[in-house]
């Protein structure tokens, strides 16, 4: 109920609202999705009260819809994020972000001696912990955790 009211205040006509982003990862989401490089109108709010996350962030992107694999990219830093797809001011679809079992590309392996950081090899990980998002490198078998994550 509250949500709807909130949306109608700063409503976008068409586009995507990404909600439930952990506040500290807002700018990571922006950079992963390349939102800093697109011409669309974007509003975002951060450090909003959230029962689930403590402090959350929200992004509203006008005239933009995301593909599945783009959403997977967000999942790594915002595993609980929810996408509202807006058409003509109405939420026509809600999408939950899901952390995949395997991640290809996106994240760099934390191990400087890993083949993916030495030769032209796309990093690949198995997600060993979906909650805290910790990744085991398919190649060097080292763990990259949330804290040490760098993005390609």
């Amino acid at each position: 109920m509250n949500d709807k009211k909130h949306l109608s205040v700063s409503a976008i006509q068409n586009g995507t609202v990404i909600d439930h982003i952990p506040a500290q990862n807002l700018f990571k989401v922006i950079s992963i999705l390349g939102l800093d490089k697109i011409p669309n109108q974007i509003t975002f709010g951060t450090n909003l009260e959230s029962k689930r996350l403590g402090k959350k962030a929200i992004i509203k992107i006008a005239d933009k819809y995301f593909e599945r694999d783009e959403i997977n990219r967000i999942a790594i830093v915002a595993p609980l994020a929810k996408l509202n797809i807006i058409r003509d001011y109405e939420v026509v679809e809600k999408m939950l972000v899901e952390v995949p079992d395997e991640i290809k590309g996106i994240v760099k392996c934390v191990n400087p001696k890993c083949i993916t950081n030495v030769e032209n090899v796309t990093p690949k990980f198995r997600v060993v912990d979906k909650k805290s998002v910790s990744l085991k490198c398919h190649y060097c078998e080292k763990i990259t955790d949330q804290e040490h994550m760098n993005y390609l």
Binding site: K113, C114, I115, T116, E119, H138, Y139, C140, E141, I143
Partner: protein, 302 residues
């Protein structure tokens, strides 16, 4: 295992491990067989490891296969800037199987993905060295008559020691209990303790060597290297504390054997070499039988 690469010990099921050990036993009884005739094995050593390379080459030679390769990167096209992928794709044209040692971690997994012929990982940086683990398992089974429910004491550099980590993972499949003896700075990483806890396997941690080997079935020694210490003072303090001597063997179990992946520097006093409990040179010989078995199974020759 036919036509499959061997990159990590975790690639093998328990049954496959037994298959390797059983075949190695067969080769120990009858080491000269002409089964690899007409096969070419490439040994690509992007960093030198004389012991491992010679062990593989001896294994191929005893089975009448042929060996090509290089023993360090400077004598190969890598020094001209060739990528690993290009090297592998080229050498795969010349060989039926590639044995590879490389300083970069994950390089063997990557090679196995691009190579049309199977890859045997002979060490990729600090990551994996599965044939070492298999020869350790072979040595343990041979000296103890079994792999189940043994007491394994690991000594030395337990933080960085690749061989101890792989052996720990492998032996935990067989319900081993562990004693870790190391300087504080080189303790076994937390992730392995968590792993053992999850499996409900018991372990102890100590800093004193002599006191804690009395109940051991296997004492697995490793080298404590100066460069592993952030504080050189720490190294000076502990460097002599992890040297195994003959008098420490008194009161140990009769079936106990001392293993070491070699090369040894001074962590096992040479006086121990003549003890019936010293097993590390035979362990190296077992490496040849084990590698014969691994290559034979991968090439589908038995």
């Amino acid at each position: 295992m036919r036509n499959r690469s061997l990159v990590s010990i975790n690639d093998l099921t328990k049954d496959e491990i037994f298959r390797v050990l059983d075949l190695a036993e067969e080769f120990e009884r009858n080491p000269i067989q002409r089964i690899m005739e007409g096969k070419v094995v490439a040994t690509l050593f992007f960093e030198p490891s004389t012991r491992t390379r010679l062990s593989f080459e001896s294994a191929v030679n005893k089975l009448c296969g042929r060996v090509i390769g290089f023993s360090e990167a400077s004598t190969s096209s890598v020094s001209k800037g060739e990528s690993l992928k290009d090297t592998i794709l080229t050498v795969a044209n010349y060989s039926d199987l590639i044995v590879m040692r490389h300083p970069v971690e994950g390089s063997a997994r990557y090679a196995s993905e691009v190579s049309p012929v199977p890859i045997v990982n002979a060490g990729d940086g600090a990551n994996q060295h599965p044939t070492q683990t298999l020869l350790d398992l072979y040595s343990i089974r041979k000296t103890q008559g079994k792999l189940d429910n043994l007491k394994i004491v690991m000594v030395g550099d337990l933080k960085y020691g690749r061989t101890v980590h792989s052996l720990l993972m492998a032996m935990s499949q067989f319900g081993a209990s562990f004693t870790f003896i190391s300087p504080v700075e080189l303790r076994i990483p937390q992730e392995y303790k968590i792993y053992l806890n999850e499996l409900n396997l018991s372990y102890e941690e100590h800093t004193d060597l002599a006191e804690n080997i009395k109940n051991a079935d296997i004492v697995y020694m490793t080298r404590v290297q100066r460069e592993r210490f952030s504080d050189p003072m720490e190294y000076e303090k502990v460097k002599n504390a992890y040297i195994l001597r003959n008098n420490m063997l008194e009161g140990t179990k009769p079936n106990m054997r001392v293993l070491h992946p070699l090369p040894r520097v001074n962590e096992i006093n040479t006086e121990v070499d003549n003890s019936p409990k010293a097993y590390y040179f035979t362990q190296a010989l077992n490496g040849v039988y084990t590698r014969m078995a691994i290559m034979t199974l991968i090439l589908g020759l038995k």
